[in-house]
Each structure stands twice: as structure tokens, then as C-alpha cells.
Symmetry: D2
Subunit: 284 residues, 4 copies
Amino acid sequence: MYELGANRYGKSRIRLVTVDRSMDRHEMRDLTVDVSLEGDFTAAHVDGDNTNIIATDTMKNTVYAFAREHPTGPPEVLGLTLARHFAAYPQVDRAVVTLRQHGWSRIPLASGGSPDAFTRSGDLTRVAIVAASAGGATVEAGIEDLTVMKTTRSAFTGFERDRWTTLPEADDRIMSTKITAVWGYGETAAEAGFDFDAAFDGARTTLLTVLAEHFSPSVQTSVWVMATAMLESDPAMDWVRMVLPNLHHWTVNLEPFGLDNPDMVYVSTTEPHGLIDATVRRSA
Amino acid sequence: MYELGANRYGKSRIRLVTVDRSMDRHEMRDLTVDVSLEGDFTAAHVDGDNTNIIATDTMKNTVYAFAREHPTGPPEVLGLTLARHFAAYPQVDRAVVTLRQHGWSRIPLASGGSPDAFTRSGDLTRVAIVAASAGGATVEAGIEDLTVMKTTRSAFTGFERDRWTTLPEADDRIMSTKITAVWGYGETAAEAGFDFDAAFDGARTTLLTVLAEHFSPSVQTSVWVMATAMLESDPAMDWVRMVLPNLHHWTVNLEPFGLDNPDMVYVSTTEPHGLIDATVRRSA
Amino acid sequence: MYELGANRYGKSRIRLVTVDRSMDRHEMRDLTVDVSLEGDFTAAHVDGDNTNIIATDTMKNTVYAFAREHPTGPPEVLGLTLARHFAAYPQVDRAVVTLRQHGWSRIPLASGGSPDAFTRSGDLTRVAIVAASAGGATVEAGIEDLTVMKTTRSAFTGFERDRWTTLPEADDRIMSTKITAVWGYGETAAEAGFDFDAAFDGARTTLLTVLAEHFSPSVQTSVWVMATAMLESDPAMDWVRMVLPNLHHWTVNLEPFGLDNPDMVYVSTTEPHGLIDATVRRSA
Amino acid sequence: MYELGANRYGKSRIRLVTVDRSMDRHEMRDLTVDVSLEGDFTAAHVDGDNTNIIATDTMKNTVYAFAREHPTGPPEVLGLTLARHFAAYPQVDRAVVTLRQHGWSRIPLASGGSPDAFTRSGDLTRVAIVAASAGGATVEAGIEDLTVMKTTRSAFTGFERDRWTTLPEADDRIMSTKITAVWGYGETAAEAGFDFDAAFDGARTTLLTVLAEHFSPSVQTSVWVMATAMLESDPAMDWVRMVLPNLHHWTVNLEPFGLDNPDMVYVSTTEPHGLIDATVRRSA
């Protein structure tokens, strides 16, 4: 009478820091890893038969052990190794490994960056999402938690006005958002030799440069302008998806206090917020 | 060269409390509402043309205004009214309204529950997800943030053991999870007269009763057992999806201190956690 | 030229769940424990000499080991045992142990509450703060995270009006707050036999009853009314401190939509919030 | 029978962004402000008489209005203006204004930093705490949310070992903490002309430089070494208080997998954590 539909399971929030001390100038990397598997797990659900179950504790062990072999380098490379490992179990159809790399910077000293002391930079999180199956592997990369603000060259006019509309038109408003952007690399990126770090740095630079320089008639248009520029700048990228909250900044009414407010004092809010979600891809 | 793919936009985290004071015994409801629209918004993205854009501020206004007409009652009913309103705009193909109802209980007094003073109960969040389009409306309901624990009748044995496995078999472990469950009602539920409150209460009662009473050989089996019982108890339900973190409780090793630990002292953890996600549906 | 001022150190967020399975009806308790020590630790700071340092890892071990002996019962009793243990180290002048007990309820079944399945109730956190030194021990108890709302019998009028005031007087407003309340028991409470559970339950009942029934001309007055009632109801209590955010609920202006709003639709906010902090004590 | 003890009230989490557009290169500042007042508020508590109450809504208005006059510049200067304003009400004995400044950086472009587009830097929060009364004003400054890591030159040995101790001695461990540091400026700092920005930058640079370069035998000693260096570098500073969680990084045991782990793979944790809190001051 009942049947199992879509299902997956795995281990989330595996926290690991790896340090390469082989040279005086240490390298470190701070990751949070999620593993998720799809495959032949019907018996585990329906019959209570765990034969096919790879324990999520085993997934955690595997992440730590594989990190021993790949202590530094792009998260995508560790992700590919892990995803292919899990996809090789016969009962697994698809393994998805998501790696979030938390940013750290060397502490600046008079002599340059410290060789072994770091501060969490916190301006964005780098994401890598690797999926592997018998048919091969795909790699997505992205940015989370990148909060930005434009203090001009943002407007919102000409929108639908009806009985429920009170928002005034705005020729020059603050635009602020916390960017989540993910993009897909084509099939060849999973092959050895693709420079994931350079691709990530290029994508971030293009995104931020266009964000700073373009005129935004709406958050929707900003997605289009940033995403097409990113696709333009890197032929390895097939598509870009952005999810952008509109973090409203409202001009405070100072008239009751006998003061004007020439776009100078804003109340910053997070609740409620607009939320714009769109994917831009190369035309077929 | 580029084209717009999947896209939607809306307003998230619209917070509202409504109070019905028409009788001495007040009724109140505490909601967080998200609105999301899909439709003909290509020009807004590609051409910077906002003609078709319903401002997210307008969505917020509409939610508050419609709540004036529906201050109490099941969140699904307010959601249906809102989703059908937004779907009626010609440029909208699909409107999704998600309502999270935060639990409040009357403060207990010697004379019974207070007529006008409440405590946030915080044991779960009730969710309603209503989607409307020209073709009609669908209603999903669910539970979030329901943290539970079984102190016995949970085991995990017979799973795959390989080089990376160190987890011992467990005949009697603590099972703890924070339940997210969503279920879909069939088409007729969107018609007037369906008792969403009774259906929700029934689903919650079945879920909790089965959770308490069943023997769990794995979280996966627990999903199957709870979901099939829910489908069995309510013919209006088409499918149930559960997303269950496995909040591990590890037995503390007290041997270094000359003490045994007969399954008595556990360290409670949230990071990392297993994550089991499965849907159970009626067979075709 | 420099000297060490006030200092303390310890272990925070020690998470533990204890289960008593000695009867069919299991008892469980969920605690987060912080330990903090003051004493002769100058050499550790100034000279890098750790001789006097009790490692915070040792504190964690001790908490788990002592919980083996006290798996259930009032958190104050475990706290007294721990605080006296740490205060007995010669280098320790004062040990403070803070225990937060997270609420769980038995899952209701047709046959009554489940013997071994629980839901996190989440309506409040019970706090115990025990301090021990050579001179004896003191015990404080409290409540955190208790969110409440009064839908009438709350006003705010007659306050100072000056150039910077725009708030209208309110005869009948929503009052909502997230209560933190802490109270001190007199010296005899640390002696064996004091019923901490009964005292806590009594304090909570008095607080909630008075909260529900009183007329509030301001949050400040509410503190006074609730605290004096608590002191009145339990002679063991020496003082009560409350810290109450004022979680504003603003009446939505629906006039632009041709609707009235007879105190029915409110926008619920948390930022910014008023914050009222006051202690009430017995007169000397 | 009862009396009012210590009490204060105010407005917390007033969020404001100010922009100076008077030149092509915009300046912006992002603050969260808390205001708290102490004074003659007994009647408000005991008698329900709000005559002396300055509404917290009025405090919010005042912060926005005064920010109109001080849109940029050190937060301490806005704080002094606000604190003195509130302290001038006859019923106020002491006004404390706490300002948290959230970091933003100009988006880097080929031509230099953008004149009007910014990213939230997120590496630390700058804090200013200004207190004013009839007797004058005091200014404290500080740092919050500065997460740091040393991958060497940190040890923890020679601590007390007893029945409850299992922690091994560590000659070379990771040290990681999330720094809260606050320091007090002497009385003259409240006078016009003190360069709060330069003092803050100097304090941060000294703190980070010493953190990177010193050998840490314990977190306690690190506080002493960093704080004395800060006092040494700025004679305006009277004292420094640091509150440092010890964010433990545990070496993963890879032996079950036939691998060594030469201080390379760590599990990063936040719960439980050590917590070290100490103040260092100039000797009398």
C-alpha cells in the first residue's frame, strides 16, 4: 500500500581543521563537510535491515582520513576524492559532498603575514559541491555569507501599483544583500588539472567588480548583470544561480525633530526581507 | 548567448500577531509568512523593466490586510486566500505562501487557562505551505522544531563494516532527533470545509505515539514506521516526508575515574550529526 | 608597573544528559553546565606557571563523574556537590557552578505519559547558580527563555514628553517579553533537605499567575508586582532580579487599504527592544 | 517590607547605517546602539507613576536624530554626545551608551577601492562604551568577535593532575579563541581632541602582533602578555580586560585506519570550551 519515495542520508557538519607544517610558513584550511548518499536503501527503511547502510560515523572517519592525504589545496579536490570513494560502494547510486571553507587571513606583521598565526576573515564562505556516480562527477562552486552594500546607483521604479501598494518609487536607494551564489562547472572540470582556486578567485572578482560598478534598477536585474558577466569571464562555467535577500534600509523620518534627512540616516533591517532567486545559463 | 532559467521572488519573514478580542476570552495567532511568486518576470531580469513586478513591500501589505479578515483559524485558510490572490495577477504562474505558526499556550490559573495571557510553548512549529496557480491549489502541512528523545527501544546493528568503520554495534542506544515532517493533502483539501486543524492534530498525535512506542532499528526505519502510520490514520494524506538529524548521545567513559557507566551519563552533541531524509507515499 | 586585577576561569557549555533506568519509568535530565573558579592564579598569568591550574578538561571530567552519582534530582543539589568539590582545592577561593536544565515532557499516550519517550518542551530553561567558598555556599535559582504575552491590561501613559518624543500614549497595548528572572535563597537553603524543586515550581507559578492577572502600567511596575508577589509567597527567597526585554508589537496601519485595525493585526518585532532590569529585595 | 534594589532600563539593538554623500567618495558607518539609564525611577516601579520615565522609543529617536549631526567619525564621539544628553535629564544619575560598529571594506577595483560599494568585513566588531553622569564621562573601547588561531608556539603543561585529570600535557597545540577585549581610557580621553580611531587601531595592532609572536604556555599567560603590551603601547589606557574562550582543536586519532596524524588533522569544536576572563591594570 505504501512505497519509499526519494530518500538520502548522510553526515552533516563534520568540522575539521588541517595544518601543513612541512615548511616554516604553515598552511591551514578550515572546513565544514556534509556527505549525503542516495542508492539502494529500501531494505533499511522498510525491513529494518541495515546490511547496506554505511554508518554516518564511518563517513565522518573517512573525511578525516582522506583529509590526512589532502591537508591543503582546493576543497573541490578533496570533495572529488571523497565523492568518488563513496560512489564506489555498490549500493550507492550518487554521493554528494558539500564542503564549506571558512576564510582565514595571516595576521599582518611588520615583516609581512605571520607564518603561523591567523584571523578568521569572515567576509564570505567558499562552497564546493561535488556529486559522483557511476556516470562521472560534477562540480559546483559558490559563495555564501557575502554581505554587500551599494550606497548609490540603485533604484526601484515603474513597478506595479494597485490597491495594496504603498511603497514610493525610489530613484536612489541603498541596496544591501547577503549573497549566495552557486555556479556549475562543465564536465571537464572534474578532470585533473582544472584550477579550482583560480576559477573561484576569478568568479568572486567579477561578481564584486560588477556589483560595485553597475546601475541596479532592481535586484532581479542585478542578478542578470552579475551572472552574465561571470559566465562571460569564465567559459568553464555553465550556469550561475543567485539567491539574494533584499536587506532593506529605510530612511528615518527626522521631521518631527525639526531635521531633514538627505539620504543620510537609515534604519537597517533584516525582517522582513525581499528574496530574489534566479538562475542564468548559456543559451542552448 | 545567455538565458534566464528557473526564477522566483517574494517576501520572507513577514511577522504578524493577530488577536481576536470579540469575546472576553481572547484568541491569538502568531505567524511568520513567506510569499514567493513564479511567472513572467523575464523583462525585469533582462531589460530592467519593472512593469510586471509586484513589489515585495506590496506582498507584505497584502498579508497584513488579509490577516485583518482572517485573524484566527487554521493557517492553511489564510494561506489559500493569499495564494489565490497572488495567483490571480496575470503575470503570475504560481504563488507559494508558507506560514509558520508559533505555539502559544494559555497561562494556567486556578480558574483554568487565562483568557488573555499566554506563554510561548516552543515545543514545535506548525507549518502550512499553500501553492496556487490557474490549475488550482495544493496544500501541504508540517511540523518543524520538534525535538524528541527515546531512552530505550532504539538500536543500530548489522551495518556495513569496512576499513573506515569504528562505530560499535548498539543494542540499546538513545535516539534523539529534531523532527521536520511535511505531508501533502490531496486536491480536495483545498476545497472549503476541510478541517485542517483536526488533520494537523491527528498527524501530530500519530507521529508522537508511534515514535514513543515503536522499536527503532535505525532512523531510516523510524521514518518508514511513523510515515506509514500517519498515512494509515488519515486518507487525506498522500505522502509524508521527514528530515531527521541524528543528534548523537555518546556514553561517557568513566573508567579513568574508577566508575562504571551503565548507560546513565551521556554527552549530548549536535555537531556532526547524521541526517536522514525520506519520503513515503501511497503506492500507485 | 602592571598587576593582575579580577580574574576567573573555567569550562563552559558542558552538555550532559543523564538517564535513570532503574525502573520501567525512566527519569532523564538534560543539563548545560558552566564551572568558574577564582583563587590564587597569579603565577599562571604572570609567570606562565601552571602548577595551580586545574585544567578545564578536568572540570569537564568531574562534572560527568559527579553526574554518575546524581543522575536525577534538582540541579541545585548536583551544583552544590560540584561547587564544594572545586572550592576544596587549596588554591580556589570561590567556585561558581551554573546549571541550565532544559525542559522535557513525557510524550502523552492513551495510557498516560510515555515511560521512555520525551519531547523537548522548550517553554523555559531552569537555572541554578551555586557558589561555594571556605565560608559556605549560596544558591540562586532562576528562569530563562520564558516568552509571554498579555493581550490586554497593559498600558503606557504619562511618561515624559519632550522634543524627541513621538510615541503616543497607549491605554491598552500588547505586552510581550522574554523573561529572565533570578532569585537568591537564604543561607539555610544550601543545607540538606531544602526542597529546591518545590521552591522553583512555586516561584514559577506565582510569577505566571501574577503576570496573567495584574494590570501593567509599565514593564517596570510589572517587575515590582511580580517580584514582590514571589517574595511574599516564599520566605526562603531574599531577592528577585528580572531582566525583561520589551518585545514591541506595533498596530499595523491598514487605512491605506480602506480597512480599520481595531487592535487586531500587529507586526511583531525584536529589534530594537526596550530592556528593563531591576532587583527587588526584602527591606533591611 | 520590600524595596527596589539596583535597576536600569533602556533601549537595545538600535540599528542604524549613516552615509555621508557630500563627496564622490562616500563614507558609511554601521552601528548597533544600546542606551541604558540609572536614576530616580522608584516611583515608576513601586507606584506605577511614569512621570520620570523617558520612553525607550524616545531614546531610539534621539539616537537617530543625533546621528544626523554625527554621520561619520569615531563611535566614541557619537556616544559621548548621546550619553551627556541623557545624563542631563534631572532624573538621570548615569547614562551608558554602548555602540558596536560593524566592519565594512570598500570593494577593491582595478582603480582602487570603490567610492560607494562595500563588503561587510566581519573579522571583528569595534565596541565603544561611554558612561556619563554629573561628575563627567568615561570612555571604554574594545573588540568583539575576533577569532584567531596560532598553529604553533602554544603549549599547556605542568598543570595540576589528580583523580579527575585525563588531559595529556601538550608541548605544541593549536590555540584558537574568539577575542573579547575591552579597555578603559583615562579621564582626559573624554575631552575633545582625543584620537579614538588612532587609539583603537594601535590597540588592535598591538594585540594581534603580540598574539602572533608570543609563546603561549596557557591562555591565562597570553592575556597577561597581550594586555601588558597594550598598556605599554598606549599611556592613555588604564586597564585591559580580556574574555577568551578556548576553542579546542583535538588531534584526530587515525590509527584505526593505519594512518599517522603528525599534528595535521584536527576536529574543531566550540562545545564545551574553556573560558578565561582577566583584567590587567597599571599598578597603583
